[in-house]
């Protein structure tokens, strides 16, 4: 395989979970948690992945590192570590990589999680936590690793001396920094950040977002940012992908998405964001009907049609394909050219 321009390219990724019922645990159907999703991420950019609970954004994020094995599709990563010395990076399909390749790939792809309280082992001190990836990958001598841990802790705004302390001695925001230091230990090129700030207080959230921006500027890191808070995603993402019930419904540059959303779900999601301005907040109307349907029996046709105020007959029977309506702006909606949606541009 030859190297493409993209750091990561996901092609037709699907993940089905089998539902089991009864004493014999017979298969009683499938949940299409991720259904034929394609996107790419370039070096040094942030792709935001948004949507409500059950939309498949977390499963997608985990599949990127094969923490959940994909059911179908390719996850092509441009690996430098797996290329021969002095040669161009090699494209490796994470979905089919060998265990040995996967271990090397995990140097280049890392993940940070939402809950800074359960993702750190309480029995390990911070030094052991941050140096664990180095130990597993057998990188450097012990004293080198210790120095590296110290400088990692400092790079995320903690103190090198914090290495001797335990997770419970830190606040939520500090624990998230420890998680980030651990993810940075192997100098990855891509970090999947799954709701990294949603458990944090507002004043601490800003500190962690600033840290992510700084790290990106300094190291050219790429992020896949999974979050439900559109304001957070807008702030640090270059491009945004919107998911609904397992499918990608819209993908565009952040500015294009906010200035001219093309999918009614994107419009509704943006309209629902609470705005810290009493006059605007009270005047708003999201126009969105009902609840998110169950993922086990999603509506036929366009998954969104029962909640869509623009839905027409075709939406009830035919699933809309993803199509490019402007360069870099794709949408899965039958009516994208015919309806006028609100702009949320500044």
């Amino acid at each position: 395989m030859t190297a493409s321009a993209h750091l990561l390219e996901v092609r037709n990724l699907s993940k089905f979970f089998t539902l089991r019922k009864g004493m014999l645990q017979r298969a009683a159907g499938h949940v299409r948690a991720v259904d034929d999703v394609s996107f790419f991420v370039d070096d040094g950019e942030t792709l935001g992945l948004v949507g409500e609970s059950g939309c498949g954004k977390t499963t997608t994020g985990r599949a990127l590192l094969r923490l959940v094995p994909p059911s179908a599709g390719e996850i092509l990563f441009k690996s430098t570590q797996l290329a021969r010395e002095g040669e161009a990076p090699r494209l490796i399909d994470v979905a089919t990589a060998t265990e040995k390749e996967l271990k090397v790939l995990r140097r280049e792809m890392q993940i940070i999680f939402q809950d800074p309280f359960s993702s750190l082992n309480p029995r390990m001190n911070v030094g052991q936590i941050v140096s664990e990836p180095l130990d597993v990958q057998r990188i450097g001598r012990q004293d080198e690793r210790r120095d590296r841990v110290g400088s990692l802790l400092e790079s995320v705004g903690l103190n090198a001396k914090d290495a001797r302390r335990y997770p419970h001695e830190f606040s939520g925001g500090q624990r998230q920094r420890i998680g980030i230091a651990r993810a940075l230990a192997l100098e990855p090129r891509l970090i999947v950040a799954d709701e990294p700030v949603s458990a944090l207080d507002a004043s601490i959230q800003a500190q962690v977002l600033n840290l992510m921006l700084d790290l990106q500027n300094e190291h050219g890191l790429a992020f896949v940012l999974i979050a439900h808070d559109l304001a957070v995603v807008r702030h640090i993402s270059d491009r945004i992908a919107v998911m609904y019930l397992g499918r990608l419904v819209e993908l565009a540059s952040t500015d294009a998405l906010f200035e001219s959303p093309q999918h009614p779900y994107t419009e509704a999601l943006m309209a629902a964001v609470p705005i810290p301005d009493p006059d605007r907040e009270r005047a708003k109307d999201t126009g969105l009907l009902g609840d998110v349907p169950s993922a086990t029996s999603p509506p036929v046709g366009c998954h969104f049609h029962p909640r869509c105020r623009y839905a027409e007959d075709i939406c009830k029977t035919e699933s809309p394909p993803l199509r490019e309506i402007q360069e870099g702006h794709t949408v899965a909606c039958h009516l994208a050219d015919t309806i006028e949606l609100r702009s949320f541009g500044s």
Partner: protein, 337 residues
Amino acid sequence: MSVAHSDEPLIEVEDLRTYFHSEAGIAKAVDGISFAVRRKKTLGVVGESGCGKSVTARSIMRLIRPPGKIESGSIRYRRGEETLELAGLDPKGRTLREIRGAEIAMIFQEPMTSLNPVFTIGEQITEVIRLHLGAGRGEARRRAIDMLNAVAIPSPHQRIDDYPHQLSGGMRQRAMIAMALSCHPSLLIADEPTTALDVTIQAQVIRLMRDLQREFEAAIIFITHDLGVVAGIADEVMVMYLGEIVERAPVRDLFRDPKHPYTQGLMTSIPSLNGARKQRLPVIEGNVPSPFDLPRGCRFHPRCAHASELCRERAPLLLEAAPEHHVACHLQDPELA
């Protein structure tokens, strides 16, 4: 409820202190706060974890259990012609049992805190109605269906016989609101009621609460960490930090002209839908200190960019800086500035 008293506050809290005693020391979760809740109005309470906003709510409901204790202060509740001192009542006594769930109701972030998984939502709502209003079985069921209808649960005749787990998160939250409002409380305390919901469902629930408040004429204490949410529902807002009120103002005044450096910091540190992207956000430096080791003077001073010697030494009082706009900051005190 008598119309003649409609200007008087429904609840008046004065110098309330609720402390938690442990081996590590005394955590002053709520430390000398005073405020009033007016009839049919919504008081928003904002602040970060550990600021004391939930303990304030639980103190009013008298739901503080050991090692927590209301140390001092008063919570006056106007009930018709009489005024009750809630802080002085026996938490397990008859009067409080009559008030809780009927006159003052509470809803939580997690609906399963108040919904019992082994009973249908209909059984739970009718029980509340029969207990507090003495209605018969048929009448209680009719009222329960009306309430489910009022909170926009589709086909309430069928849904009433569902168990909580058969409902989606948004539906459960609405069922809890229906139960809380079923006895027409004069005060509803809502503790982060939309935090666990998706944004589109959150917007529906907030709109619903606003409509129901008009219909049922209840006062609401709405506790949240989300400034956008509070902007959408509150008439008045108080901002808490480490057990104290740092600012209290009508909602528009607070958002147009936040006066406390902490309030200002909270507002500028959240990303907005129209701000500059990919720029560092202004931050409030440092972390919230431990409640066991509170800073001297102004509790915010270690994180405040404007802190002076005075702030390190003396705690500021909550003073009226503009009409109805109260702030506890030396910088706003005309006699000191």
